[in-house]
Each structure stands twice: as structure tokens, then as C-alpha cells.
Symmetry: C3
Subunit: 342 residues, 3 copies
């Protein structure tokens, strides 16, 4: 069960509805009219909860789970305890996402502008938006329908938001054009001036940063992440891309669609990531290079050169993953060998 | 001396009281009734100040220091200038901590709710708490005694704080249960949704994040650090653990008691750190692994596998520290050798 | 052209004035009285725009550019399309910085204190300063002329700012002495307590952090960067130094003049960087070491020992750049060689 202080499940939902939602095949004692109240992890779930197994690491938890219903891959069916009703799904994690969303839909915002919020007279804010306490909307801001601007967030002059954009507490946006269904988590800093200086012995000269940050639809941006606006061209975050916490994205970077950028990654100025690129945690991408469609950059890799589409690279400087693993094996052997020698 | 703009020492304190506080043995000209006004580093201290030597690197500063009193280990006694009064302590840094706390106790907060703060009607906030300007406490918040919510901080719906919790300016908490004597520095983001998506070619499906973040007593969390709440199980920060600035802790991570996590570390989802684990700056811990009690992870290490209790590891992928140092020695030799070859 | 939602160029400016501003030599069809309206990147520039070529990577864009005027190095003159007017400059990027500043000067702040701001009665704030909505200035704050405190920023008790300091939205300053012409980007956390504990089995004892953070003139500090105040001595950021986003600088660090610290760098406590040191993105500097004047630390390098003035180092543990590159070449060969073997 979920903590009622924080979550308010919208059940019950019938097995028939859940099967419909997931495309899964129900097997076991429960009938289609049986209902469930919530989702829960295997170890905490009770008879009124729906759970799932996706990672074989947790099969022990399945064996002893008291979940009323479990989403599993057909091949994992035999791991479940006898008498548990199952929904057999090709992709149980994706199925779980749909089920959890059904029990916990994003709440509709209660519209209104808090009396401690500050909104410019010429800001275009539909009546169905919610502006929380202390939030600030500067001159010329335009919002779509049902946006939520979190407490003490700052939406700078001229910023444009699409529909259903949710800005977290204390986030700040400047010089941004934002699509619809974008989620910005607390403390993210979007569209501020990038790090642009003409370096010189006598002092570094500031280069005005005159581009924008364009964020396309369905992007999600993590807490305390920073994305600089362009210097002249724009910085662009492609539709559906998901960016974790504490990521740095420099000016003029272009991310394609559906990229996945894990926490603490740094992407230097003018790098280009094509569609479906994934970068693991703490990775780094040098400036002015291109990472091809579908390429994968391992956690903590530092990429200094272009990466072809579909490749997987690791290490620093990054090389094809197989080579990185071979390097590691050799180094590890060297490290251990010393024990005999010395 | 400390800058009177910022610090207000609560002296004088007698040598007898300081000896009592630290368990140290006083040697030198000053008598037990002699008093001191403040603490100061060796190079800045005058005759009314108490200083300390902990790191042999600074023994030159001791030799020329004008401190009235110095906390030193018995073995370092001979490094002090003639005529300086000393307090001989087994652990001078710990002794200094107690002395500095005595001169600079945490000030009692002046209670009250600033008129620009926003507090929900049903929030449970004792009269002895302090809610600073622009701070927001949402519906259902419960606080213990003498909490301080810093300027423009956000305490989300249902969050529970113990006694004497101090939340820094602009920090944000959601879905958190917080113990007593917890310090959260400015801009930390606690309990927001973790990075959970069911990835797919056609787009990444958001997985609702339905767990909590539980922070036990006496935890300290650095500026702009991010800690995500659990997905179903909770994220847990064990009692007495200290977390530095710009650290990322993913959903479902469990930290034991008295862990020390230095700045810019990243701990991926569902990792488990047992008690007394220390992770050096910029280190990384992969998801779903366990770091045993008392293990130490060197700065910039990237740990991909379980680490046994008590071990020290370094490098990426992390190996026992001795092996890492051997790898480095071999690599360094290779790098230098090339000079002759090429 | 720049987006009129966000930028308001102050043109037109004549070719004669631009030549004067940059010291460049005009060649081509346009006369000295010809005027231009704005700056733009090569690919977006039209006949009324000034552009520049600095990086040979973009020479293709120059060849097809429709810019009315282009700043180029004398040697790159032949890369320009026929009939384009050029300003030949020894350092086109620095020249561009001056031109872009001329079209886009920093706007003078509209003075005043927003009605949702909170300013202590004893704060010294000249009438020409601007305090944006939700910003907080605590007791004893002193500001110079024409400062801007961004929305929901927090300036702690006793903080001193010079002239023309700009603090971004949601930033927080405590125990800081700040020079003139300093820019602090949104969400930076300056002068909070550093990570100081006397570690111990029975719990970690907090060490009061009693120093200050001194920021000299013309420093720029990036979004969500954290700089801790000193423990006893001060943390110091030297004049003209530029610090990017998400950088961590520990207590007692001393940066010289005109240092350049790229994003996500971590500098551990008591490290000293002399003048003109540059540290690439995601680099790390260990505590208590010295990096000599003009030294360069490559991106992602981890420096564990003193670096002599003028040296360039890379890798982890960092070594002279040439050795690092040799190490990489050897490792890369090993990784590839395996393909034949295995």
C-alpha cells in the first residue's frame, strides 16, 4: 500500500480492466470481475494489490509475495507461488507503468493564482492554470492550458509554455520555448546564459548569449539540472527525451527525440545527440561532437569523438564497449599480478 | 577572530571548562581560571583565541602561531612554540569541534511565521517553529518543536519533520518523513519523483513513483543535493549520515547509519550502503549493489559490484585499493616509458 | 536575428564604429557609414547582421552565409564568399564579444523593491538597486550601487555586495563578502557551511564553519554551483574568475585571478589554484594541493598532487598530458588487440 499522507489511489479496478489496459493474459483463480485497490512492490503487496516482476534479481520476492495479482513475463510464470493470479505480459515493467498510472493518475491542478505569486499584467495565463505561492511570471509570459507553476518558481520574461506543463518548486526558466506535457522538477535551471567567454590574459570577455532553449513535447527534466540557452543558435531538447537530476547541458547542444540522460551527465556545448541516444550516469560528452541515433554511452564514460549510430561505448576516452571491457580485464590482471611479484 | 558581521561568539570560556569539555590535559603557563574568547585557525589566532593542530601539514603554522591556547595530540607537543598553553587531546580535531561548538552554539530560532510565508490551514506547526519569508508549508505538514524553514523553501503536502529540523533557503521536500536534528542545506531537493520510465521505441512511459523518502535523526544534507523518493519501497537515509553538496541519490537507495558521502557522488537506484560506509568525492555506485559495513570508496571510484564489509576500493571499475594503486603505477610507467621509445 | 521575445538589440551600428570597437580592418563592398542591426550565427545571419568565424569546423557555414558583415582572422579571409564585407581581426571571437555586447548591452535595472520582497529594516540598499519579487535581504546586508537581487533569492545576514552585482533567481548567499560586477546565476549556493565533521565510530561531530566566502570583482558563478564558506580561514574566489554550472568548491579553497572552472568540476577543501588556472568539465582537484599559475587541467582529470605552473595534466590520477595520451594509446591498443586473440 502507499502512504495515505502522500498518495490517493483511484481504485478499485477490475482484473478485466487491467487485462485490457496491459494487453496481458489473466491466469489463476481470480475472475475478470475481481478488483484490486492499488499497486505495491512484491515484498509489501497484499491480496488487494497488484505487483510485478521484471528483474530476475527479485524472483525470491515473488516466491513469497502475497500480492493479489502479479504482472509477469510468460517465461516467469513458474516462479510465482501457487494460487497467485497472474497477468502474463510481454513487457511486465511497461504493463506495470500503465497499471500504476491507472491507480495514480496525475491529479488535475486546482486552478488559481496564489496571493503571494507575482504575475505580470501582460502575462497570458489561462484561467485553468495554477500558480503556486511565491511563483513569479514575468512580462510577456504565455502559457497553455492547465499548467502548474510550482512554489517560488521563476518564469522569465517572454517564456512560452505549451499545455499541461508542470514546473517544480523553485525552478527557473529564461529565454525558453517549451512544448506541451513537459515536466520540470524542482530547482532545475533552464535557459540561463551559457559559459561563453573570449578568454584572454588581461581578463575574460563575456560573450552575450543570444539564443534560446527550445524544449519539445513530453520532455522531463530532473531536479537541479541545468540547461543553458544557445549563444546564437538554440539549445534544443527533442520530444520525449528524459533527463535525470543534476545533469549539465551546455549552450547549443541539440538532443534528438526520446534520448535518456541519466543523472550527473555533462554534455558540453554544441554537442549533438541524435534520436534515442542513452547516456549513463556521470558520463560526459565533449563539445562539438555527434552521437548517432540509438547509440549508448555507458555510465561514467567520457566521449571525446563522434560515436556512430547504434554503437555502445564506454571508458574514458570512450571506446567500443567490448574494447573497454578488454582494457579493464587486462588492467585488472596487472593489478592482481603484482601480488605475486611484490 | 571571526567576522562580527556573521558570527557572535559566546565567550569567554575558562581553560578549566575547556579541559572539562575536551577531556584534555592542560600544560603551560595559563591557569585553570584563564579565559578565552573565540576559536581561530593557527595563522589568524591571537592570545584570546583557541586553535588546534590536527594535520601535520600545518605544523609550520603552529610554530609561529600566537594562539593563546592550542589543542594538540600529546605527540605533537614539541611542535608548539615555547610558552604556548596546550590542551593535550587524543583527537584534537574532535576536541576542537566541541570547543568551537561551545563558542558558537547553534542559535535558538526566533519563532514566528513571516507574513510572506504560506502555510496551509491544516499544517501542524508548533508555536516555537520559525517559518521564514516566502517559505511554503502545504496541507497536512507536521513539524516537531523548534524547526526552522528557510526563506523560500517548500515543504510539500503531508511531509513530517521531527524536532529541531533546519531546512535551508530554497530547499524543497516532498513525500518525506524526516527525523529530528536533521539539517538540510540550501537548494537540496528531497523526495521528488525518481527517474523511472519503461523505455520503448515508441516513447518512454512514466512509472509513478509511489514510495517515500525517510530521513532518520541527525542526518545532514548538502546544498543542491538531490535525493529521490522510492518507487514503491522507500528511499532511506540512516541516522547520523552526512551527505555533502551536489550529491545524487536515486530511488530506493538505502543508506545505513553514519555514512559519509562526499560531494558530487552519485548513487544509483536500489543500491544499499550499510553502516559507516564512506564514499569519496565524485564517486559513483551502480544500482542494485551492496556496499558492506565500514567499506570505503575512494574519490572518483566507480563501483560496479558488491563491496565486502571493511574493504577499501578505488578506480573504475573499482577494485581493491592496492590493486588500483598497482594499476596506476604500471600505467604511469607505460606513459613515461614512451618518452624513451618514441 | 534574435528572438524579440527575449532580446532587444540596440542598433543600428555603423561599420566605422564596429571597426573602431574591434580594431579590425574593414575589407569589401560596404562603406564605413553602412550600418548593421544585430549579430547572428553564420547559418542564420542576413544582410543586416554581423557574424564571425572562429572555429575552422564552421568554415562551410561561412562559405554559404548571407551575413552582411563577418569578423574573421586575416588568414581566413579567402574562406568567405565573394562580395561579403569582412572585418579582419586577430582574435575574431574576442572581437565578436565586443560587437555582441555593443548590440546587447546589459540593461540597466529598473530600481525598486517588489512588494513581495522582504528586506530587513537595517539593510543598506541604495535606491538604484532592484529587489525582485520574493527576494529576501536579511539584517545587516549592505549593497553597492545598481545591484539586482533576482526573484526568490536569499541574501543572508551581514552579506556585503559591491556595485552592479547581479544575483540570479533563487540563489542563496550567506557569510559572503562580494566585490563589484559579480554575476551569480540562478540557484547558486554561496557561503553555506562546508562539510566539516570530526568523524567517529559513535557518530560524526559537526565542526562549526566560522570563515567567510570572499568573492572578488568581476567573478561569474554558474547556475546551481555550490561554494562553501571557510572553516576558519576564508574561501576566496579571485577577481575575474569564471565558474560554470554545477561546480562544487569546498571550504578554504583559494582561487586566484582569472581562473576558468568548467561545469561539474569539484575542488576539495583547502586546495589552492593560482592565477589563470583552467579546469575542464567534470575534473576533480584533491584537497590541500596547489595548482600553479596558468596550469591547465583537462576535462575529467582527477588531480591528486601539486601541479607546477604552466603544466597541462590529464587522466586520473592526473599526469602530464603527454603521458596521459600515451597511456591511452597503449590501453586502446590492448583493447583492440584482444580482437585477434580471443
Amino acid at each position: 500500500m502507499t502512504d495515505p499522507r502522500f498518495f490517493h489511489p483511484q481504485g478499485p479496478i477490475s482484473l478485466a480492466a487491467l487485462a485490457d489496459l496491459t494487453g496481458g493474459e489473466a491466469v489463476g483463480p481470480a475472475g475478470p470481475e475481481a478488483t484490486f485497490d492499488n499497486v505495491a512492490p512484491l515484498s509489501l503487496a497484499g491480496p488487494r494489490d497488484v505487483s510485478f516482476l521484471d528483474n530476475a534479481r527479485y524472483k525470491g520476492a515473488l516466491a513469497t509475495s502475497e500480492a493479489g495479482l502479479c504482472l509477469v513475463a510468460p517465461a516467469a510464470r513458474t516462479l510465482a507461488p501457487e494460487g497467485m493470479t497472474l497477468l502474463l505480459c510481454d513487457d511486465p515493467y511497461r504493463a506495470y507503468a500503465r497499471v500504476a498510472q491507472a491507480f495514480h493518475p496525475v491529479p488535475e491542478p486546482t486552478p488559481g493564482i496564489a496571493h503571494t505569486a507575482s504575475v505580470a499584467a501582460d502575462a497570458g495565463i489561462p484561467d485553468d492554470c495554477r500558480i503556486e505561492p511565491g511563483a513569479v511570471g514575468e512580462s510577456g509570459v504565455e502559457m497553455g492550458s492547465r499548467c502548474v507553476i510550482g512554489a517560488n518558481a521563476h518564469v522569465g520574461a517572454g517564456v512560452v509554455l505549451g499545455d499541461r506543463v508542470r514546473i517544480g518548486a523553485g525552478a527557473a526558466l529564461a529565454c525558453c520555448l517549451v512544448g506541451s506535457d513537459v515536466i520540470v522538477h524542482p530547482g532545475a535551471r533552464l535557459g540561463q546564459e551559457g559559459f561563453g567567454f573570449a578568454m584572454g590574459e588581461g581578463g575574460h570577455l563575456k560573450v552575450p548569449q543570444l539564443g534560446r532553449l527550445r524544449i519539445e513535447d513530453a520532455v522531463e527534466i530532473g531536479a537541479n539540472t541545468t540547461i543553458d540557452r544557445g549563444t546564437g543558435n538554440d539549445t534544443v531538447i527533442g520530444a520525449g527525451s528524459k533527463i535525470d537530476n543534476l545533469v549539465q547541458i551546455g549552450h547549443n547542444v541539440v538532443l534528438g527525440r526520446n534520448c535518456v540522460i541519466v543523472s550527473q551527465v555533462g554534455i558540453a556545448g554544441s554537442a549533438r545527440l541524435e534520436d534515442h541516444v542513452a547516456v549513463g550516469g556521470q558520463g560526459g560528452i565533449a563539445g562539438h561532437i555527434t552521437i548517432g541515433t540509438g547509440a549508448r554511452v555507458a555510465a561514467r564514460a567520457g566521449v571525446m569523438r563522434d560515436v556512430p549510430a547504434g554503437a555502445t561505448v564506454g571508458g574514458f576516452p570512450a571506446v567500443p564497449m567490448k574494447e573497454f571491457m578488454r582494457q579493464n580485464a587486462i588492467l585488472a590482471r596487472m593489478g592482481r599480478k603484482g601480488e605475486d611479484d611484490g
